[in-house]
Point group: C2
Chain length 290, copies 2
DNA sequence: TCCGATCCGTGCGAAAACGCATGTATGGAT
DNA sequence: ATCCATACATGCGTTTTCGCACGGATCGGA
């Protein structure tokens, strides 16, 4: 009847991923190890935990029960790891941060550079993604986000206010300046698929010509001359070949925040990183507003 | 930074027991294994978890933090094990019950006997103790208790009402019958150290002569003629050499209950055991009351 | 129809974890 | 002062666990 805690965790991983290989990858062990542990767990509990099907393992009710409770255990473990990290006072080891790709590419690189120079024993792991990683589950220690609020039960600091405006390449900028009546093609964001509101009435012929789901691509599209793009000012200013065009006047854009879980927030590494980050933001705040 | 769940459990055990040997016994492993796992955990976490002192291991703050969260994990594990046990439908494996020694010795043995005969594949573990074991922590599956309520968050059934009365050996019984004025020596229970209230005024010379902390010993004392004892009627009636004496009239005594955690209560094994138990109690209820 | 991608089971040798025996230090009781 | 009980550290041989390589089964697309 006695089962190892690690076997409970293994059952949970297999329930989650549905295959030995997936569970093995999640736990960083060979998949045969998963199979063996599952067999052990079945012997220990006296219950059949999975049906072996040709396309994977299907959990029985008993396995689902185990998985449910193992998730509670996992939550406790995450809480522990956060608290341990938060109590760290040494400036060494791994620090994981996440930020949108574009912010890293166009603005944050100097922060990363300076931080690793100042604290050479800290191994900085950077997750460049627009996804909102789960800081409770320790997917990252610190997140730099573009949004109006830190959200959830997270601690946060506002780093920057920013405005957006319309940008295009030199050809477009010249053409628009020459003839306000010209046909103006917008490259729009998937989630805001229309011509932005509040455009300058001097330019009557506007039309959405492309829709993209990714801002990186949109910057490229603007550079290549596919049309004009509404983007944060810092993006237009830092990417070569782009010029601001007067089609859409600057307007407030979601702020930039740094957020973290309150458990890990006090850690020395996080504190140090925030220091460098905040200094850099203060020094360049003019880049972000009109 | 990654730590095995079993290592977290090991840290918790060492914090609890204070010594490698104690923790090893609790986890049924050699104490050297505890030492190795602690070293592993310290390497994985990068924290010193224990001070090695001459009289044992003293936990650091980090270890206490781990232990705290590991206890949450343990609670989840206990909840799981209860649910798994409660869902069992087969009549095999281990069933653990607890009851006061005297109830087992004087009354319950036939229940145990019949149950194991009827269900030969169930291994019955009997914890004969007056201590209130923690059914949430699976110290036992089912408890037979002498008290007015099932307590806590437990499910329970009342098995029997019972009365108490005064008992003594044949010598004392004869002497009391011959001369009501004789000096009557009480053997009292430690927690009720006085002559019981409501004694028969026909016997004026009563005095507490001994105090015991254990009812088993008190039965023996009564048999040996040390004095008269207030005890449940079934005890006086089932133990050889004892007779009821009219010094203290029968009066209600705490009821006998069977209690269990609601999670495990539905299990087939528990259900079967309760069946045998209840039948036996019904058949012999007259033994318990005046 | 064939090929490739995913599954999983099995057997073997390497690596890790474990139990046991031995030796040392400390503190309390006789 | 001596003896004994408790508590750890260390080294060695054994057991257990693990990763890897190989083979079989299934499914879907070219």
């Amino acid at each position: 009847m006695d089962m190892t805690w690690d076997d409970l965790r293994t059952v949970m991983a297999l329930v989650r991923h549905g295959s030995l290989a997936g569970a093995g990858a999640a736990l960083s062990v060979n998949y045969t190890t998963i199979a063996r542990r599952i067999r052990r767990a079945e012997e220990a509990s006296g219950e059949v935990l999975f049906e072996r099907l040709s396309d994977g393992y299907r959990p029985t009710d008993a396995a689902l029960l185990i998985a449910e409770h193992a998730e509670q255990m996992e939550q406790a473990e995450h809480g522990l790891m956060r608290r341990l990290k938060g109590a760290e006072t040494h400036l060494s080891g791994i620090l994981t941060i996440t930020a949108p790709q574009l912010l890293i590419a166009s603005f944050l690189s100097p922060v990363l550079d300076q931080f690793t120079r100042t604290h050479p024993d800290v191994e900085l792991r950077v997750l460049a993604t627009n996804e909102l990683l789960d800081l409770s589950r320790r997917e990252a220690d610190l997140a730099i986000r573009v949004s109006r609020a830190p959200g959830d039960a997270l601690t946060g600091l506002r780093l920057l206010y920013q405005d957006s405006a319309s940008f295009a390449n030199a050809d477009w900028a010249a053409r628009i300046a020459r003839d306000p009546q010209t046909q103006i093609n917008w490259v729009a964001y998937d989630s805001f698929p229309d011509v932005p509101k509040g455009t300058n009435p001097d330019y009557p012929n506007q039309k959405v010509r492309f829709r993209f789901d990714d801002m990186v691509a949109m910057v490229g599209a603007a550079q290549a001359g596919l049309g004009i793009v509404r983007m944060p000012m810092f993006l237009g200013r830092t990417n070569a070949g782009l010029q601001q065009v007067p089609v859409l006047a600057p307007q407030p854009y979601p702020e930039i925040w740094v957020v973290g879980h309150p458990d890990v927030w006090p850690s020395a590494k996080l504190r140090a990183f925030r220091g460098v980050l905040i200094a850099h933001c203060k020094a360049h705040k003019a880049l972000f507003v009109a």
